[in-house]
């Protein structure tokens, strides 16, 4: 096993058998995590490749190029690994959350505004604790807003500082 090199993009190994870098998540583990956590339709990520750059930051990319590569960006940040509780990104929650049917907490207009502003809120929730997709209604359809951490009766907004807004 070799060490992770943080300043380049490396394609994830398909399965644990192909793992060559210490602690690196596999494609199978990452896809299963997303599919299971949010009950997404089978094959949602079939057309994408998955990469690690930095310590545990997983990126999702619509095409495929030779690995490794030293460039500034490749697709979209997808999931934070190499920590006890894997954490989905706001970008990925917005991009893929529409098809989720589990662990999605639906917010009212006022709750959505507070969430967007980065505020934590006491809300009722019957499902799992942990990272949820926060969603609300826009123009008559449910749309994903970002990632919230639900613990102890509270939804903590994970909206990154640069994306927080006062509407």
């Amino acid at each position: 096993m070799s060490d992770n090199v943080g300043d380049r993009f490396d394609r994830l190994p398909a399965t644990a058998d192909e793992r060559e870098v210490e602690g690196r998540a596999t494609r199978e583990e990452v896809v299963d995590w997303w599919q299971n956590r949010f009950d997404l339709p089978a094959g949602t990520f079939e057309q994408y490749t998955l990469w690690e750059k930095g310590a545990g930051k997983i990126w999702i990319f619509a095409d495929d190029i030779p690995s490794p590569t030293r460039i500034e960006g490749l697709g979209m940040t997808f999931l934070r690994t190499r920590q006890e509780h894997w954490k989905p990104t706001t970008d990925a929650a917005q991009r893929f959350g529409r098809a989720a049917s589990k662990n999605v907490i639906e917010l009212s207009e006022d709750e959505a505004r507070a969430f967007l502003a980065g505020e934590d809120q006491e809300l009722d929730w019957d499902g799992d604790w942990g990272y949820l997709i926060a969603a609300h209604d826009v123009g008559g359809e449910r749309e994903s807003l970002g990632v919230g951490l639900y613990v102890y009766g509270e939804l903590r907004s994970m909206m990154p500082k640069g994306r927080q807004r006062e509407l």
Partner: protein, 310 residues
């Protein structure tokens, strides 16, 4: 406005041109079809009480009655991107297809690169390059909010861009040896943005025009070289100066294996100029399009399509 006087011989209705340059620009957005349809976006505008008008020449381009489209739900969700109306043109003219590999040579802050991704249905590859790392972070921010997953971001001088980081010349069958298409929306003197940036001419000098023209030529030449035989390269600027437009094309025609081709421009426009201040350009530069602010009540723009030799 003084530098614009030099274009009096080029422009049919020069007074209308100057009048338009003095008017502020309407606020415009492009619908990001990676995340929403124009219909969903209109429903969200209606719900939020935001007035809008559809551009008649391009689906998914809207003029808004609000001056702060950034603080609306459609913007938060990346359904819309604030982008000057005419600046939606070059990506449409390039017409990239899903699955292709496309280069945006001077991509920051990413309005056109993310539009390329959307036109490609977020499949295939857009290589968004810029030499300015600070501006690349703005590009990354826009691409993330707009939900783009088919973009590779590089930080190189486009004039000697290397495809090595994309595996050029390797045995790997995923490698990119050349692009299917390229967009050169070149850094320029930005005369056409006068309606948005009234201080555009404070820094204007002919010396700057001449020096930026050298960079433009270098970038366009590299784009021709890095594109497959028969592939398309769109060259655009937001400026009127023939030194940065027709003369750049004229010089690149001499030095690279390519030709200027007809293009479909769904906006009122004038042809490229074949003569300026006693200098003659290749007759084919007339196939380029000059879009003046008084034509369609937009910013000013220049756009040409080249085909790489087969």
């Amino acid at each position: 406005m003084k530098p614009l006087e030099r274009y009096r011989p080029l422009i049919d209705d020069f007074e209308a041109f100057i009048d338009a340059c003095e008017r502020p620009l309407p606020s415009a957005v492009r619908v990001n079809t990676i995340k929403a349809t124009p219909e969903q976006t209109m429903a969200a505008f209606d719900e939020a009480g935001i007035g809008y008008e559809r551009a008649d020449w391009a689906e998914g381009v809207f003029r808004l009655e609000t001056t702060s489209p950034g603080t609306t739900w459609p913007s938060v969700h990346g359904w819309i991107h604030g982008q000057e109306e005419v600046s939606s043109l070059p990506a449409m003219v390039l017409d990239p297809q899903p699955g292709e590999r496309v280069w945006d040579a001077a991509a920051a802050p990413g309005s056109k690169a993310t539009q390329l991704s959307a036109l490609m249905e977020d499949r295939g590859l857009v290589v968004a390059n810029d030499n300015n790392l600070g501006r690349l972070s703005a590009l990354r921010f826009n691409a993330e909010r707009l939900g783009v997953t088919n973009m590779a971001v590089t930080n190189q001088d486009a004039r000697n861009f290397s495809l090595k980081p994309l595996g050029e010349g390797s045995e790997d069958d995923r490698r990119v040896d050349a692009f299917d298409r390229a967009l050169v929306d070149a850094p320029c003197s930005c005369e056409g943005t006068i309606r948005k940036n009234p201080d555009t001419f404070d820094e204007w000098s002919l010396g700057h025009v001449e020096s930026v023209a050298g960079i433009q030529q270098g970038i366009l030449r590299r784009a021709i070289q890095a594109t497959k035989p028969g592939g398309r390269v769109v060259y655009s600027t937001c400026t009127f100066a023939p030194e940065e437009n027709e003369r750049v094309l004229d010089q690149v025609l001499d030095r690279e294996d390519c030709r200027i081709v007809e293009q479909d421009i769904p906006l009122e426009h004038a042809p490229g100029v074949t003569e300026f201040e006693g200098e003659q350009f290749d007759p084919d530069v007339a196939k380029a399009a000059r879009i003046y602010p008084h034509h369609n009540d937009t910013g000013g723009f220049f756009c040409a399509t080249l085909e790489v030799g087969r």
